[in-house]
């Protein structure tokens, strides 16, 4: 497991940051998602263009801990907009924060690639509606670039 010192200042303040993206369900839902709820902001829905961010509050940061993977990220609160661009296809989507996540430290050092293009560590999760704008839901995990929108 890769553990290293967090970047200072936050990596996303200096410009776009690269990392992994996956998708998560929230809001009213079927199957194992039915117990998920509306997320930390109380607004999360699988069908909306939203995302989860690892640093929405002190409580959120204490769970996600991307710093344990050597990544520091800015505090951004509910409704803040990020642009996520798939490194595989170049497709992008702009979404608003609706939840806290992903739990970056549980996947520290993980890398996903498309061809020779790779990115490390889970830095953002998209709703199914948002993820399916840039990749197939069946891909599950993709390398992306994240920037403020």
């Amino acid at each position: 497991m890769a553990r290293s010192k967090a970047t200072d200042p936050p990596a996303d303040l200096l410009g776009p940051v690269q990392g992994e993206v996956s998708w998560f369900c929230c809001g009213t839902a079927w199957g194992p998602c039915s117990s998920t709820g509306k997320g930390a902001c109380g607004t999360c829905n699988s069908g909306s263009l939203q995302h989860a961010w690892p640093n929405t509050s002190d409580a959120c940061w204490s769970i996600t801990r991307p710093d344990r993977c050597g990544v520091s990220l800015s505090r951004r609160t509910c409704g803040y907009r990020h642009r996520v661009t798939a490194l595989c296809s170049g497709a992008s989507v702009v979404t608003a924060i609706a939840d806290c996540g992903p739990q970056t430290d549980l996947f520290c050092g993980e890398r996903s690639c498309c061809g020779a293009t790779c990115a490390d560590n889970r830095l953002i999760d998209l709703t199914p509606a948002a993820y399916s704008q840039i990749a197939s839901l069946s891909s599950g995990l993709r390398p992306v670039e994240i920037s403020s929108a």
């Binding site: 699988s46 739990q103 995990l141």
Partner: protein, 200 residues
Amino acid sequence: MRSRRDVLRSAVLGGGAGVVAATAMGSLGPEAAFAAQKTAQKVEPGAPDPDFAEGRIRSIKDNTLLVLGSNLVFHTIRVVDGTSLWKLGPVPFDAARPGDGLYARGVRMPDGMLAAESVWLNIVNIRGHIKNIAGQTLRLDHNGHEVLCHVVPGKSVAIHSESPPTADLSMLKVSQHVQILGAWRPDTNEVDIATVFSPH
């Protein structure tokens, strides 16, 4: 040059000729299309995407799925020749069953119907700790709920970080945190595994 979405729209509005044109463009599978979809975003960030639907299939008639959304909104979803369908892998339209959960992306037509580019049947993407591994099953603690995950020979693979997918799932360990992408067995706590993502 016509966009893939224009072709999909004409496949529904124009009937057969559009469908043939769509097929001639190659697969309408989602991955191939994303590179071409670099147009300006029409939907406000944070808002519901009208070109996306989720819910469970109530009935199937001809090439149309009647879906009840989890928010109790009905969706009529039209499947055309080029629509890609997924249920633990690519499947034909007749794999769809009443009771299946789904996510669908396509083009919303003026009458409210969704012309589908992609339909993912019963797809789930869950994270949790492995509680137990026995034979071809794996018990996952997902947010305090147990999910029984089945290894499906010939379908299930594991991806350990950037390594290529492998059908050998023997490296998975109890207490390890993983992400499981799979197909839910409707009205159960069971999932057939497509991919297990493991950080190491």
